[in-house]
């Protein structure tokens, strides 16, 4: 199964339908607005905006979700550049040079460059998606329950080990997520587990409630900690378009960062944060003007922005072909996708090619629309940043409650929402990584089912987990991902020791 041109064209036609285009633009706009609110990241944006897609047909709803997701990624960089407050990890690198540029009165140029870079990164990644998704889906057909179980194990361990320095907390976060995923009726035996006699829990804890609770309510509660602190002073926008010189300097960094970001996005566990950081450091090393990095170098905005957008497209591959999200935000996206009744997996490409390819085309068109929206409406967006957070936070809270209610029409979810809001607050305060919990909660059920199916297939023997080359490779990757931080720390310590020795001499 190579690239099916007919499906690609059909998908383009679906994506170009006026209703879909309208939702694409609207979703992109909304995503940008919520994504740029200080302190709220793309995950929150997707979480609170999920209910908007209720009542739409699945393809349109999926297009809308993707538009919100990409819009939120764009929005995240707006507040990074203008206020020095990134919405999430993937927008951090944009502050390094974006904010210094804004301080020099070049905010408009930094914003324009971030939009252009996102477009270029996004387009490169869409091409990558077209080339890679179908072969990967084909490959995923070879996966049996044991392989799936190990793939999920690897994804979880990767996401934990990438929360560097916080491995213990990452594992705690992951375990809590896995335990929460066991609440409810056990699908294989019909045994009720940990429901405490509450019928509302018999179908398990709705992970969307957890997501909205932790990302929206928890985020607002966390922002209360600094609510009376004045925000970073917003800078003058200045010129709204980049100069030829800036284009010349940024052209290659953007083109290089696109494929890099895309490939990192495809890896389970890695996401936009790593992609943007890695491309930033790479470009700094490659640049002739590396001394200007951090002081307002335009390449320092272009490279990470291209990489992070490419990664967000790349992350859709494991999400759609295997149902494995790569980061917190994509985990939220997966939640939304499952809620729409779409079953991600290798068969999605065979059973519903039109949906997949209209989605791909929407990503393509969406990126172009978003650049237009972001460049034409820069004045409006800057004004939105003037909305006082003290008005915004109550609105986000109310949206979270309404959104939660529309999931199951149950008041019990309101209580769960608040409980997870408080858990989110504590996790953020105590620096527990959230992504492992969300990811574990979403894949936990499937992980257990696959584990048990493999055991049944092998009559209880564990040898099935070593039976195929894919299994052995996955086990190797899992061990590597757990050991990776230990190795890195070891090398750092050794370096420090040699430095000390040099100083002593």
């Amino acid at each position: 199964m190579g690239v099916d041109i007919q499906s690609l064209v059909d998908g383009l036609m679906t994506a170009l339908q006026p209703t879909n285009l309208l939702w694409l633009a609207f979703g992109g706009f909304l995503g940008t607005v919520v994504g740029m609110l200080p302190g709220l990241g793309p995950a929150t944006a997707v979480a609170v905006l999920i209910p908007i897609t209720f009542g739409m047909d699945p393809t349109t709803a999926l297009i809308m979700m993707v538009a919100i997701y990409s819009g939120a990624m764009y929005g995240g960089s707006r507040s990074s550049i203008l206020l020095n407050t990134p919405g999430d990890g993937s927008a951090i690198a944009a502050t390094f040079d974006g904010y210094p540029m804004a301080k020099k009165g070049q905010a408009g140029q930094a914003l324009a460059m971030s939009a252009i870079a996102s477009l270029i990164g996004g387009l490169i990644a869409v091409v990558g998606f077209v080339l890679l998704a179908a072969p990967l889906a084909d490959f995923a057909l070879k996966f049996g329950p044991a392989e799936y179980f190990l793939l999920m194990l690897f994804t979880l361990s990767a996401i934990v080990s990438l929360s560097m320095g916080n491995m213990t907390k990452g594992f705690i976060s992951m375990s809590v997520g896995l335990l929460l995923s066991t609440v409810g009726i056990d699908l294989q035996s019909g045994v009720y587990r940990f429901t405490f006699g509450l019928p509302q829990l018999s179908e398990g804890i709705d992970f969307l409630v957890v997501i909205i609770g932790i990302y929206a309510v928890g985020e607002v509660l966390y922002n209360y900690l600094s609510i009376d602190k004045p925000l970073g002073k917003k800078k003058r926008v200045g010129e709204k378009w980049i100069t030829k010189e800036q284009w010349k300097r940024s052209k290659w960094p953007m083109i290089r960062s696109g494929p890099l970001g895309f490939l990192i996005g495809v890896l389970p566990g890695a996401g936009g944060s790593i992609a943007s950081m890695l491309s930033y450091t790479t470009e700094r090393q490659l640049s002739k003007r590396s001394d200007q990095f951090g002081k307002g170098a335009i390449e320092g905005v272009a490279a990470p922005e291209s990489a992070n957008n490419a990664a967000s497209v790349g992350a859709m591959i494991p999400l759609l072909t295997m149902g494995i999200p790569g980061s917190g935000t994509t985990a939220v996206m997966l939640g939304a996708v499952i809620m729409l009744g779409v079953k991600p997996g290798p068969l999605l490409f065979e059973n519903d090619p039109n949906m997949v390819w209209s989605l791909v085309n929407s990503m393509f068109i969406g990126n172009i629309l978003l650049v237009m929206i972001n460049i034409l409406l820069v004045g409006l967006f800057v004004k939105i940043l003037d909305t006082p957070p003290k008005v915004l936070y109550p609105l986000i809270l109310v949206l979270a409650f309404i959104g939660t209610f529309t999931l199951n029409y149950s008041i019990v979810d309101f209580y769960l929402l608040m409980i997870f809001g408080v858990i989110g607050l504590f996790m953020k305060m105590l620096k527990f990584p959230i992504a492992p919990l969300i990811l574990a909660l979403i894949v936990g059920g499937d992980m257990e089912q696959n584990f048990r199916k493999s055991l049944v297939a092998s009559d209880g023997g564990l040898d099935i987990f070593f039976a195929s080359p894919i299994c052995i490779a996955l086990i190797g990757l899992t061990i590597l991902s757990v050991c990776y931080p230990l190795i890195v720390n070891g090398i750092k310590r050794k370096k420090m020791r040699t430095q000390h020795k040099e100083w002593d001499m």
């Binding site: 705690i172 896995l178 066991t182 009720y192 587990r193 509660l221 209360y224 008005v391 209580y415 504590f426």
Partner: protein, 149 residues
């Protein structure tokens, strides 16, 4: 005085032990392996217990350092805001079906705005509460066809 840093790891140790006890008290499966529903949660609970103990040891070593997050939580009006928001959420949940979506949301949002944005901006608070509630009610019930109480 016991350092507040140790509260969190101890909490997780309790959670893991609680889950472990609950796991072994689960009913047996009637088909196939009777212990099948137990394996997975048992393994995870034990794993959580191990990492929580490691966390406890780490925090124990750092117990003399100041508990920064706790200090932030207690600063200024933060505790009042957090507790009041949760209480308002609780009230919202209790009256949601009785007063209906529109009235309860106007009250909830209005109360939150007065709490967070302050009494002096009462006009903004009232206008935003009314407009936003009406708009979201219209959007959900008419545009998205979601039935609201």
């Amino acid at each position: 005085m016991i350092s507040t840093r140790l509260l969190m790891p101890v909490f997780f140790i309790f959670v893991s032990i609680g889950f472990l006890i609950a796991t072994f008290n689960l009913p047996k499966a009637k088909m196939g392996d009777p212990n099948a529903p137990i394996y997975f949660p048992a393994v995870i609970s034990i794993f959580l217990l191990i990492v929580s103990v490691i966390y406890l040891i780490r925090e124990w070593r750092a117990k003399r350092k100041e508990d920064e997050p706790l200090k932030r939580l207690k600063a200024g009006r933060t505790p009042v805001l957090i507790v009041s928001t949760l209480v308002l959420g609780l009230i919202y949940a209790l009256v949601f079906f009785h007063l209906g979506f529109l009235v309860s949301t106007i009250l909830f949002l209005g109360a939150l705005l007065f709490l967070v944005n302050g009494k002096s901006r009462w006009l903004v608070n009232i206008v935003v509460a009314l407009l936003f509630s009406l708009a979201s009610w219209y959007a959900f019930s008419h545009l998205l066809n979601i039935s609201l109480p």
